[in-house]
C-alpha cells in the first residue's frame, strides 16, 4: 500500500484546529470541574448531614452512569428546564459535572488522610469544621492530591472526544469530517491518537513539574 502523504498534509491544519478546540473545552471543564469538585469534597467532609447525603447521591450517580449517557442527558435535559446552551457549552457542562464528582472523591480521600492531630489543633484554637478544612486540611492535601488529580485531568481530555456525538467541534469531530470526505480512516485515526497522546504527555509532565515545585514540609 503506497502511503498518500498528501492526505496527512491536508489533514494537519484541520486536526490542529480541532486540537485547539479540544484544549479549550478541556481547560474550561477542568477549571469548572475542579472548583465544583472542591466544593463538593468540602461539603462531603462537613458536619452537615444533608450536604454529605447530597454529595454521596451525586457521586453515586456520576460513577454509576456512563459519561456518554450523561452527555446526552445534559444536552437534551437543559433546554427542557429552560437553559439553552450551544452544543459546546452543554458539552463543557457535562464534562465539568462528571469531573466534579470524581474530584470530590479525590478531595475527600486525601483531605481525610491528613493527620488527625491537625483537626484537634484547629478545634483547640476555636476553628469551626469548615475553617479547619479550608485553612488547615485542604492546603496540606494539595500535594498528595496531585497524582490522582492528574489522572482525572487526563481522563477528561480523552473523554472530551465523546462530545463529537452531540456535534461539538473538537479533535475527534474534526477527524470525522476529514474521514467523511477523504475516506482514509486508518491514517487519520492514527494521527488523532498521536495528537491525544502528545496532549496527555504534556499534561503529565506539567503535573510532575508542579509536584516538584510545590513546597514540601
Amino acid at each position: 500500500m503506497a502511503i498518500d502523504w498528501g492526505v496527512y498534509v491536508s489533514a494537519l491544519p484541520i486536526l490542529w484546529e480541532g486540537t485547539i478546540a479540544t484544549l479549550e473545552i478541556s481547560f474550561c471543564a477542568i477549571i469548572l470541574g475542579t472548583l465544583g469538585g472542591l466544593v463538593l469534597g468540602i461539603l462531603s467532609l462537613s458536619a452537615w448531614g444533608p450536604a454529605r447525603a447530597f454529595v454521596r447521591g451525586y457521586v453515586d450517580f456520576i460513577r454509576g452512569t456512563p459519561l456518554l449517557v450523561q452527555i446526552f442527558l445534559v444536552f437534551f435535559a437543559l433546554p427542557v428546564v429552560g437553559i439553552s446552551l450551544n452544543e459546546t457549552w452543554s458539552g463543557i457542562a457535562a464534562l465539568s459535572l462528571n469531573c466534579a464528582g470524581y474530584v470530590s472523591e479525590i478531595v475527600r480521600g486525601t483531605v481525610s488522610g491528613v493527620e488527625e492531630g491537625q483537626s484537634d489543633a484547629a478545634k483547640a484554637i476555636g476553628m469551626t469544621r469548615i475553617q479547619t478544612i479550608v485553612y488547615i486540611l485542604v492546603p496540606q492535601a494539595i500535594r498528595p492530591m496531585l497524582p490522582a488529580m492528574t489522572n482525572e485531568l487526563i481522563s477528561l481530555i480523552k473523554n472530551s472526544s465523546l462530545l463529537s456525538v452531540i456535534a461539538v467541534y473538537e479533535l475527534m469531530n474534526a477527524a470525522k469530517g476529514i474521514i467523511a470526505t477523504d475516506f482514509v480512516p486508518f491514517q487519520i485515526y492514527t494521527l488523532v491518537a498521536i495528537f491525544y497522546f502528545i496532549m496527555v504527555s504534556l499534561v503529565a509532565s506539567l503535573s510532575r513539574y508542579v509536584e516538584r515545585r510545590l513546597p514540601a514540609w
Binding site: 492531630g117 491537625q118 484537634d120 489543633a121 478545634k123 483547640a124 484554637i125 476555636g126 469551626t128 514540609w217
Partner: protein, 280 residues
C-alpha cells in the same frame, strides 16, 4: 493578675469568687469501657494545677473533655460560670451547635503532647492564624500579635521557619505561643514535654514557669514531678479514672495520704534514682 482569694494557691474557705473552671461528675466511656468515672474539681483563677497519675489513669482524656475535643459522656464543665459544650433544655442536656462550641473553645488554650503544629505554615503563621481567622483580626494585626507572642517564648529569631525546621522544644514553644495568641482564660497542657529529647525539656518548662509566675491559669498533665512540685499550687492525683487525692502541692509530695499515691510516688522516685548518674 494575683488573685486575692488565693492563699498558697488554695481558695480560702468561704471565698466569694467562684472558681474559673468547675468540673462536675465528668464521665467518659469508649464503647463499654468507662475511662473517666465521675471526676469533679475546681480551678481558681491564676492557679496552676498538676494533674498526675500513672498512664491509663485517664488524665489526658479528662483534659480533652474539658474543651470538648473529646465529648464527655456525661457531667458538666463550667468556665467563669458558663456551661461549656451543652445546654439544658427541659431537663435534658443538648449539645451546643458547632459554631457556639467553637467560640467557647477559644477561651481554653490547649498544648498537645505531639505539638500538632500546622506543617504548611511558618511559626509566625501558626500563631497568627487563630487571631486572624477565628478572632477576626486583620492579617497585619494578627502577625504583630503573633510576633509578640513568639518573643514571649523566646523564638523571635525563628518566626519564618516551618515546624520541620525547628527542634522539638522550639516546636512546643510555638504551640504555647499559638495557645497564648487566642488570649485564653486557661491553658491546658497535655504532657507537653513527653515527646521531647531530655535536653530540650527545660526550655519548655521554663516558659511554662514564666506563664505561671505571670498568673496564667494552667492545668498541666505531666510526669515531671519535680516541675509540678516547683510551680503547681495544687496536685490532683488520678488513679483508675477517679481522683484519688487532691492536695496543695507541697503537702501532696511531703505527706501523701492515699496508698495509691504513696505507691505511685515511690515507684517514680525509684525510677529517677535508677536514671540519675549520681546513684550508679
Amino acid at each position: 493578675m494575683v488573685n486575692e482569694n488565693l492563699v498558697g494557691g488554695l481558695r480560702a474557705p468561704g471565698a466569694s469568687v467562684p472558681p474559673l473552671l468547675e468540673v462536675r461528675n465528668l464521665r467518659k466511656s469508649f464503647g463499654n469501657v468507662e475511662v473517666i468515672k465521675g471526676v469533679s474539681f475546681d480551678v481558681a483563677e491564676g492557679e496552676t494545677i498538676g494533674l498526675i497519675g500513672s498512664s491509663g489513669s485517664g488524665k489526658t482524656t479528662i483534659l480533652r473533655c474539658l474543651n470538648f475535643i473529646t465529648m464527655p459522656s456525661s457531667g458538666s464543665v463550667h468556665l467563669s460560670g458558663e456551661r461549656l459544650g451543652f445546654e439544658t433544655v427541659r431537663g435534658a442536656d443538648r449539645l451546643l451547635p458547632e459554631r457556639t462550641l467553637a467560640a467557647q473553645r477559644r477561651r481554653l488554650g490547649f498544648v498537645f503532647q505531639r505539638f500538632n503544629l500546622f506543617p504548611h505554615l511558618t511559626a509566625l503563621e501558626n500563631v497568627a492564624i487563630g487571631p486572624q481567622r477565628v478572632l477576626g483580626l486583620s492579617r497585619s494585626e494578627a502577625q504583630e500579635r503573633a510576633a509578640k507572642d513568639l518573643e514571649r517564648v523566646f523564638l523571635a529569631d525563628h518566626m519564618k521557619k516551618r515546624p520541620s525546621q525547628l527542634s522539638g522544644g522550639q516546636q512546643q514553644r510555638v504551640a504555647i505561643a499559638r495557645a497564648l495568641s487566642m488570649r485564653p482564660s486557661i491553658i491546658l497542657f497535655d504532657e507537653p514535654t513527653s515527646s521531647l529529647d531530655p535536653e530540650l525539656v527545660n526550655e519548655v518548662l521554663s516558659v511554662m514557669q514564666i506563664l505561671a509566675t505571670n498568673g496564667m491559669t494552667m492545668v498541666i498533665v505531666t510526669h515531671e514531678l519535680g516541675f509540678v512540685r516547683k510551680i503547681a499550687n495544687r496536685v490532683i492525683f488520678m488513679h483508675g479514672g477517679v481522683v484519688k487525692e487532691e492536695q496543695p502541692a507541697e503537702q501532696f509530695f511531703q505527706n501523701p495520704k492515699q496508698p495509691e499515691t504513696i505507691q505511685f510516688l515511690q515507684h517514680l522516685s525509684q525510677q529517677e534514682a535508677r536514671s540519675d548518674p549520681a546513684h550508679i
